[in-house]
């Protein structure tokens, strides 16, 4: 327990340093755009592929589980939309990105630590934690909601393709279902979750990488810890946010 509290305290102290006043805004701005490309645009491919199949599978599974003649088939479209917007796009994408982006951040910063590049920054009088972590966190918090919106469209599009190329639901019913009883605040809820999750899957691996020490082996461990911890905290935070905003 003492060790847990020690690490939590260390994390918040690091975050305090990360969000302190940057030395040169122009350098941070350039790094922010670079990180947006690296964390966001470079993740578009994997997001699109996963979302497409996710939407298709939700549609098929919903259809397979509707066994009553009293449940209209447009429910399939409705369920696909609701599952995608409320849960799958923000949460599953965050878990995927925790693996892809999180491990990348932890190993990049960890390697900088063990090769003394972070010490070099400190000796130059640069706030190394802010310089390395702040642009990544801000970039992810800003870009992740856009990735989630793209994921939502592609996922619902995946369901549409199933409707189009199979006979489990007609295209008309599916389209009617995805428009039925649409609540815009669900999108706001999902995008808020996306930003919170982005903060988690960047800051926690960055924390693990920043305090990595020793050898390449330790960097590997830091990367694994970063992904595991951020995944668990994403799931826990998901529960808290859902309880607060949807009930």
């Amino acid at each position: 327990m003492a060790s847990f509290l020690f690490h939590v305290g260390k994390y918040f102290i690091l975050m305090w340093r990360v969000f302190s006043r940057p030395e040169k805004f122009s350098i941070y701005r350039k790094r922010l755009f670079d990180e947006m490309v690296s964390l966001g645009i470079d993740s578009l491919g994997i997001i699109a592929v996963i979302s497409l199949f996710m939407g298709a599978v939700i549609t098929i599974q919903t259809a397979a589980n509707i066994d009553s003649a009293f449940i209209p088939t447009y429910t399939i479209g409705f369920t696909t939309r609701q599952s995608t917007i409320l849960e799958f796009s923000p949460t599953i994408m965050a878990l995927i990105l925790a693996g892809k982006v999180g491990s990348n951040i932890a190993s990049e910063i960890g390697l900088m630590r063990v090769t003394e590049q972070i010490d070099a920054l400190e000796i130059m009088g640069v706030n190394s934690s802010a310089y390395l972590i702040l642009p990544k966190v801000v970039a992810a918090v800003l870009i992740n909601p856009f990735l989630v919106v793209i994921s939502m469209f592609v996922s619902i599009g995946g369901g549409y393709l199933v409707a189009n190329f199979s006979d489990i639901v007609t295209v008309a019913d599916y389209v009617y279902g995805i428009q039925l009883d649409f609540k815009p605040h669900h999108v706001v809820y999902a995008l808020s979750k996306a930003s919170v999750f982005a903060f988690i899957f960047t800051s926690i691996p960055a924390f693990n990488g920043y305090y990595a020490s020793g050898s390449a082996l330790e960097v590997g461990k830091a990367s694994t810890h970063g992904v595991v911890q951020s995944s668990i905290i994403i799931l826990f935070t998901n529960y808290i946010i859902t309880q607060l905003f949807l009930i």
């Binding site: 040169k24 350098i27 003394e116 590049q117 010490d119 130059m124 009088g125 640069v126």
Partner: protein, 249 residues
Amino acid sequence: MIEVNNLYKSFGDLEVLKDITATFENGKTSVIIGASGSGKSTLARCLVGLVEPNKGEVLYDGRSFLDLNVKQRKSLRKEVGFLFQGGALFDYMTVEENIRFPLDMLTKLSKKEKKHRVDTVLDRVELSNAHKLYPSELSGGMKKRVGIARAISPNPRYLFCDEPNSGLDPQTSIIIDDLILEITREYDITTLVITHDMNSVMEIGEHIIFIHKGQKWWEGTKEEILETDNKELLSFVDASGFLTNKKNK
């Protein structure tokens, strides 16, 4: 000038530095020697604030480093250049960007002035054509030279070199040693070199400190080192093979 007074550092129960007192003068290359684990790198890290000592005083031209607040330390660090053992070049930047980085972060120089400064220091370390190369494309010796170029680019008053010859062939070692010596005299800076390479010590050491078991065991010049009867120092010098090579010559 850097003065160290009664410096102590422990990691848990392990006492790494015990009562170190020394003075490193301007325009001179001071060399700290000692076996691996003797505490010489920890001493350098304490001097630049990468490691916080438990007790003692570090004075940079009369300014007590340990008494400075975060902002004042940051400002003082702008006067410090540090050459790391592995170079510590930023992997994702080219040579030019690596050298320009401290200028971008710490100075208000114009683009033209920065370019001129980068060209000058790259010329100085004889790497005028390496601007666009990435660290992964450089040899060990080139990395050290770029590291020196980056360390001297903001015109530091104090230069620290941690094992500048490690992993280098004897010829490249001599080039790096000469470069450190020339830069120290040319810019009249306080240079402190951490090494266990006796050839390097005899090449550049104008003031030598031998650290043994975390304590300052011996202090003197390179001429005096050959005449010493200090048992531990003799054993260290002997183990380095330096005396044997000298006798064979």
